[in-house]
Amino acid sequence: MAHRVSVLGVSMLGVSVLGVSILGVSILVLLAVFATSTLSQAQPQELPVSEVAPGIFVHIGEAALMTAENDGATANVGFIIGESAVAVVDTGGSLREGQRLLAAIRARTDKPIRYVIYTHGHPDHVFGAAAFAGDGTEFVGHRNLPQAMAARGQFYLDAFRRIMGAQLLDGVRLIPPTLLVDGTVKLDLGARILTLRSWPTAHSDNDLSVLDEQTKTLFAGDLVFLTHIPVLDGSIRGWLGVIEDLSAVPAERVIPGHGPVSEWPGALTDQRRYLETLASDVRKLVARGAPITVAADTAAATERSRWQLFDDYNARNATSAFSEIEWE
């Protein structure tokens, strides 16, 4: 909404040269728009979703950093409708996105939302949680997630208040999971079984996958990136190991954390190549005694043209990989 207002401000200036009488009309128009905006805030617009398999709906996030302009809606989020209940998989990057996801669910079913499943604890996946709080909804996550939220939560809230502004951050609450997954857990939505699996440290130290047994659809969270450069916030060696185990999951399609819905396990190819290249480049730099700053500038440079947001994340991935690989 902030974005829309600033556009109006500019058009006002344009109108002003025509004279005071037009200005009066403009004020009326503005007040009308103001009223509409307030209304749209009370009843959020549905988040656009598509049905990628029967009863499974997904919103594909924008390949961008979280900003005020995109409501933090950069990650893929979705929901699964069973015979008696609904499960939400990730809640989005702002309370507003969470509310819009809720509106998309309510436009399709009035069954209760029994579970909100976090694939991990990053802001673009958990900031919308408050939209689903209450009404017997249980929050589900990796056994490490409460600890990660405790360690990082306040930092994320402060940092994204700076980046996205107070208007989007007011109302964002971090809701730790109460149903913790250590290994596998099956959830029943009524004639629809979801298999949740916690993974060793890979993209993060709290990655969880969700497999819908009926349609063989895998929500991989940020264990899988496509077209959007993989982001390393856990362990590069761990992630490469997890990719091997993950590829054995009997799915037909994957909903990655970022990027398009794709066939399985072919979707892993690009990400595996990127992480292997990064690890191998960093390993060579460590061996020849290069400082960490050189890794940030040069590692995995051959991958630049193959990924969106390469310049936003590659140096960081290299820094992180270096600090891990130098202990080998």
Binding site: G9, L13, A151, R162, S204, G234, G289, A296, W327
Partner: protein, 276 residues
């Protein structure tokens, strides 16, 4: 005429206020400048001289990973200068614990470069203050933008964080263009340590997790001090210090570290004669 110009502006900004639109760009530095207070708390209000000719600080303009931001400190005293750098203090103004590290430079080791990695929580000035043998403080500074995205100044791998506790590694690097005969060395010390900040609350118990980090590190060649560090929680997990020094011909390099729980870690390495 001026009225016509002013009206729309006023109304636009009024509406902006009504709708709660952000007036300033979202990513501005903090308005409050903590530096004067830090000069008082850390340096007892001693006068700060311009350090441009004495010390340099290098950091990336953007903290790519909030938990691991490389920083290099380099002394710039010309060869003929009779003064010596006694200590260098690194201050990250906007961090919860701004005093990141205080380095003491060994009297005979001629340390001219120190690189380490720090946590950066915010958009912040980072100050390096050198104290010289003339008794004066010399200050220089740089500015770092906090990282966006999902990185945080916290552990990435809770399962592994403690597994390296107390491990120490020493490594010597070749110095380009300088043979071993010059005595110039470049080396690195790594200490496995989870370095919990203590600023996070346990969500279950609602108690603050106690801080746990390396607060003292001393490096020696035989019995002569090369470098010591008084560390804070702004030093990254698994503290890593890379530095230059001049060999005194010692055959052994020794490191002693202590953390806030009173653990002491000690290790000694044979210095390779080749200097590589």
């Amino acid at each position: 005429m001026p009225l016509r110009h002013f009206h729309p502006l006023c109304i636009a900004s009024l509406l902006g206020v009504m709708l709660g639109a952000p007036v300033a760009p979202a990513a501005t530095p903090e308005a409050y400048n903590p530096w004067p207070g830090l000069v008082q708390d850390i340096f007892n209000n001693r006068p700060m001289n311009d350090g441009a000719d004495v010390i340099a600080i290098e950091m990336p303009y953007r903290a790519e990973d909030a938990a691991i931001v490389p920083v290099t400190l380099r002394t710039k005293l010309p060869p003929g200068d009779s003064r010596r750098v006694l200590r260098i203090t690194l201050v990250i103004d906007q961090n919860p614990a701004p005093m990141a590290a205080k380095f003491e430079l060994g009297p005979d080791a001629n340390v001219t470069e120190i690189s380490t990695r720090v946590r950066v929580n915010n958009y912040t000035d980072v100050h390096a203050v050198a104290e010289l043998s003339d008794g004066q403080l010399y200050m220089t500074k740089t500015y770092v933008k906090a990282s966006g995205g999902c990185s945080a100044p916290a552990t990435k791998n809770a399962d592994e964080a403690r597994s390296r506790l107390g491990q120490m590694r020493y490594r010597q690097f070749a110095r380009a263009g300088q043979g071993p005969a010059s005595g110039a060395r470049e080396a690195q010390i790594m200490i496995g340590h989870p370095s919990h900040s203590g600023l996070q609350m346990d969500q279950v118990t609602q108690l603050y997790i106690p801080a746990f980090f390396v607060n003292e590190l001393k490096l020696w060649q035989d019995d002569s001090l090369v470098l010591s560090m008084e560390g804070g929680i702004s030093i990254s997990e698994d503290p890593n210090i890379r530095f230059t020094y001049v060999s005194n011909g010692a055959k052994h390099f020794r490191a002693e570290a202590r953390d806030t729980e009173g653990h002491t870690f000690q290790k000694e390495w044979k210095v390779e004669d080749s200097g590589i």
